[in-house]
């Protein structure tokens, strides 16, 4: 049986990794839950943001927060442009899957054409830093990511619950016609939300650039796990997405600490299946 230190460290590491899943899941969950649009290009946009952050950081020596200040609004605009297509053509849920997948392929191709398929690492001095808490190490970058993800998730949750705009969005998601009868401008709100989701992708991308090494094919490596996170966390629920991300990250990590790491997916997904069968309302 592994030591308590090992388990504790694995738990920390897993929750941190889950923060990234949750952050990526955030935008996807919102657009799927509130607008019935399954945006597979979310990952591609995140990586585009990451590559731009990398480029600004290495070629122009721009610190990450400055590039974020440029990249995130740019992503917001891209989200608006994307939504214009959805809106103009009244795209339904299934069609959005196909369209966003294709868009992701286009973005990936563009990335590969410009930056090649070779690995690129934005070397920065934050990447190895850790805080010590007793016998445990908490990596600084990942911790920041989790805090940012938490703030975004919580802020979004508040926004959806407490503000008019948020409530209007949720109402539209439930029944657009009735909401319209109460004066909710579904179209404008949807544009706003699409821009926001893309902006969240931009935030994720900034962190990806700092934490990970980039390659175009990596875009697809998050698809499966983030999809699972989105569904477990319930569509349209920002806090759920974050929590589910951390849960999956933690369960995988703990499984890797106790069993052979290659068995980890069985453990975490079997637990998931068991929960779903027993009571999906728990999630």
């Amino acid at each position: 049986m592994p030591s308590a230190t090992l388990l504790g460290q694995a738990l920390i590491s897993g929750v941190m990794a889950g923060g990234m899943y949750g952050l990526l899941a955030l935008g996807l969950s919102l657009s799927w839950g509130l607008m019935r649009l399954v945006n597979l290009s979310h990952f591609a946009l995140a990586f585009l943001a990451a590559y731009i952050t990398y480029e600004l950081g290495t070629t122009y020596h721009l610190a990450p927060w400055w590039s974020a200040a440029l990249v995130i609004p740019a992503m917001f605009v891209i989200g608006l442009m994307q939504h214009w297509v959805f809106d103009r053509f009244k795209v339904n849920e299934l069609a959005s899957l196909l369209i966003t997948f294709s868009f992701a392929v286009i973005v990936e191709s563009g990335i590969q054409l410009y930056w090649t398929a070779d690995y690129r690492r934005f070397e920065n001095h934050y990447s190895g830093l850790s805080l010590r808490a007793g016998p445990f190490y908490i990596p600084v970058l990942e911790l920041t990511l989790c805090l940012v993800a938490g703030a975004l998730a919580w802020g979004t949750w508040l926004w959806l619950r407490k503000t008019y705009v948020g409530k209007a969005l949720r109402a539209s998601a439930e029944d657009a016609d009735i909401a319209a009868a109460y004066g909710v401008d579904h179209r404008r709100l949807s544009f706003l939300l699409s821009g926001l989701c893309a902006a969240y992708a931009g935030v994720a991308g900034t962190f990806i650039a700092l934490i990970a090494t980039l390659a175009p094919a990596q875009i697809w490596s998050y698809l499966g796990v983030v999809f699972a996170v989105v569904i477990i966390g319930r569509l349209g629920n920002p806090l759920g997405a974050l929590f589910a991300g951390m849960l999956i990250g933690a369960s995988e990590s703990l499984a890797m600490a106790v069993f052979s790491p290659a068995w980890a997916p069985v453990v975490s997904f079997s637990v998931l299946i068991a929960i779903l069968l027993w009571d999906p309302d728990w999630a």
Binding site: F89, F103, S109, G224, A262, W263, V266, I273
Partner: protein, 582 residues
């Protein structure tokens, strides 16, 4: 009309003949392989659509069945020396069993629909992949098929695979066509639109979904088994990656997932485009161009290529005269109400939802041929009683018998087949099916067994009966509320129910429409049905009912002739408060 049906059929036969002959024509092996890959994707996407497209149960786990098939063949052939051809049925069987096993557990749980089902199938894929990766089935070193002897049909391995792939493809398309044109398909399409209503109309939803899932999985397994020989070296990451589940969805969406031939069209388009830009110098740009074309395609053809094309052709065809309605009046016995027999016996029925008791021991008899009005204040349990009788909810205790048959805890579709039909207060027609199809389905699943022609005629009869004549091909979205309510009635009637439960059929109608509806309800009773109807509009209740039953807080409060009951001060007080009654 004859020409139009003949041309596509001839084209299909010609295509099959040509494709069947091709490998013998001595073409370069590449074309065998290229076409094999197209057959591969056609089979996979069409099999996926059997459940996910037709019934709307979106599965992300097609790779699980495909992978199980691949590794079944891999293990049996490479490790145990079983002849390759013999492994294919084993692969199909194992995958089908897996699919039905999953379905047997999952489909029982009402709440596991939509995205949760997608998640579950995805999770199953990950679990199976990891198990195969970590056990001797693959173990991480891959399974090498080079030592497995390839049967020689048409003299070359690529031709053999072509023939096998073509065979499975034809079989899959034939199965898809048959399903789409059968009761099973009708039921699946209904499940797609509204599963609860389908169940209430007599569709055995659990059995149908299970069967479709098993079929879908079995085909994927067979395809996987054949593909094991094509690939030659099996690895877990290739087999269980997201490519298969994602591509089958994309292909089905592109081609049209509700049409039996839709996924095939999508598969051909996407499959062929994968080869369009393979030259080394243009690989990346080529992918982007293909993706762009896909976007344009789906933007202009949002329902998929096949449905859009079909609609386009239908519009171009000169408008034929109104469909020839061979209207043999369906044999309807219009017996006078036999007052002395109880058609429904409700004994001590209780229904609790957790801590909330909606029905507290209701006992009621309904006489054959009568119109019984069911009234009561909001929350008194009227709709719950209807839901319990029709089987939408199981009852907590007590019994319900219809025409002497206990229907107490039967699944809703069994109750429907025993002569109980209901309408919904807010009409719930099957949105993607025409008026005629909606009613035909109810006739098919709710009524006695007849052939397709008779059921169609039955449906047409009831459509005319409820004044919807002329709107047979319309979609429910094209109807107004009044018409949709009558569609509800037509659907209920087409099942020739012994007991018809009407849930606030008059709500939302204007006075003229109300009079119309009242006339219709009377006409329905004249045909021999017994009617229990929930209603708030008092004048209609009093006008129509032979007797009125009043529910209050889950108990039967009063029962008797209309005038008596409605002037009973106790009844008035529960509606308006004691002061008014006094």
């Amino acid at each position: 009309m004859m020409m139009q049906n003949a041309v596509p059929k001839l084209a299909a036969v010609a295509a099959v003949a040509v494709l069947a002959y091709l490998p013998g024509a001595g073409m370069p092996a590449f074309y065998d392989s290229f076409l094999y890959l197209l057959f591969f994707w056609i089979s996979l996407s069409t099999s996926w659509a059997l459940l996910s497209g037709f019934a709307g149960y979106f599965s992300l786990g097609h790779a699980a069945f495909f992978g199980v098939g691949m590794y079944t063949t891999g293990t049996l052939a490479a490790k145990f020396g079983v002849p390759f051809l013999a492994t294919i049925p084993a692969a199909a069987l194992l995958s089908a069993l897996l699919g039905m096993g999953i379905g047997a557990v999952v489909f029982r749980l009402k709440r596991l629909r939509g995205d949760l089902f997608a998640l579950l199938t995805l999770a199953v894929t990950f679990v199976i992949a990891t198990i195969i990766l970590n056990t001797d089935i693959d173990g991480g070193s891959g399974v090498f098929m080079s030592a497995v002897p390839m049967p020689q049909i048409f003299g070359s391995p690529s031709a053999t695979l072509y023939v096998l792939g073509f065979g499975i493809c034809l079989l899959t398309l034939a199965i898809a066509w048959k399903v789409a044109h059968s009761r099973l398909g009708m039921g699946l399409f209904a499940i797609h639109d509204d599963e609860d209503v389908a169940e209430a109309k007599g569709v055995p939803t659990f059995r149908y979904k299970l069967f479709a899932f098993g079929l879908s999985a079995g085909i994927a397994g067979a395809v996987g088994g054949i593909h094991a020989m094509y690939v030659g070296f099996l690895t877990v990451s290739e087999t269980f990656g997201l490519t298969v589940p994602l591509y089958v969805v994309l292909m089905s969406v592109l081609g049209g997932s509700r049409h039996w031939f839709g996924p095939a069209v999508g598969a051909i388009l996407i499959g062929a485009s994968l080869y369009a830009f393979t030259s080394g110098s243009e690989a990346m740009i080529g992918r982007a161009i293909v993706a762009l074309m896909l976007i344009l395609a789906i933007l202009w053809l949002p329902d998929g290529v096949v449905p859009t094309l079909l609609r386009w052709f239908a519009r171009r065809r000169t408008k034929a005269a109104a469909p020839v309605v061979a209207l043999r009046p369906a044999a309807v016995e219009s017996t006078a109400p036999v007052v002395n027999r109880n058609i429904v016996e409700i004994r001590d029925v209780t229904k609790s939802f957790g801590g909330l008791q909606a029905l507290r021991g209701v006992s009621l008899d309904v006489r054959e041929g009568e119109i019984l009005g069911l009234v009561g204040p909001n929350g008194s349990g009227k709709t719950t009683l209807i839901n319990v009788i029709s089987g939408h909810f199981p009852l907590t205790s007590g019994s319900v018998a219809v025409d002497g048959v206990q229907i107490g805890n039967l699944p809703a579709h069994e109750i429907a087949r025993r002569g109980v039909a209901r309408t919904y207060q807010i009409p719930r027609p099957f949105a993607n099916m025409s008026v005629l199809d909606n009613v035909t389905l109810a006739a098919t699943f709710g009524g006695p067994a007849r052939n397709a022609r008779e059921m169609r005629d039955e449906a047409l009869h009831w459509i005319t009966f409820t004044n919807l004549g002329g709107k047979e091909e319309a979609l429910p979205a094209d109807l107004n509320l009044h018409e949709r309510k009558f569609l509800e009635l037509a659907r209920a009637l087409a099942a020739r129910p012994k007991l018809l439960l009407l849930d606030e059929v008059l709500s939302g109608l204007n006075p003229a429409e109300i009079d119309n509806a009242i006339r219709l309800v009377r006409a329905i009773r004249a045909q021999g049905s017994t009617i229990v109807f929930v209603e708030h509009l008092m004048r209609a209740v009093v006008e129509l009912s032979d007797r009125i039953a009043v529910l209050n807080e889950g108990s039967l409060f009063a029962l008797g002739a209309p005038r008596e009951v409605m002037s009973d001060p106790r009844v008035v007080s529960i509606y308006l408060g004691k002061a008014y009654a006094a």
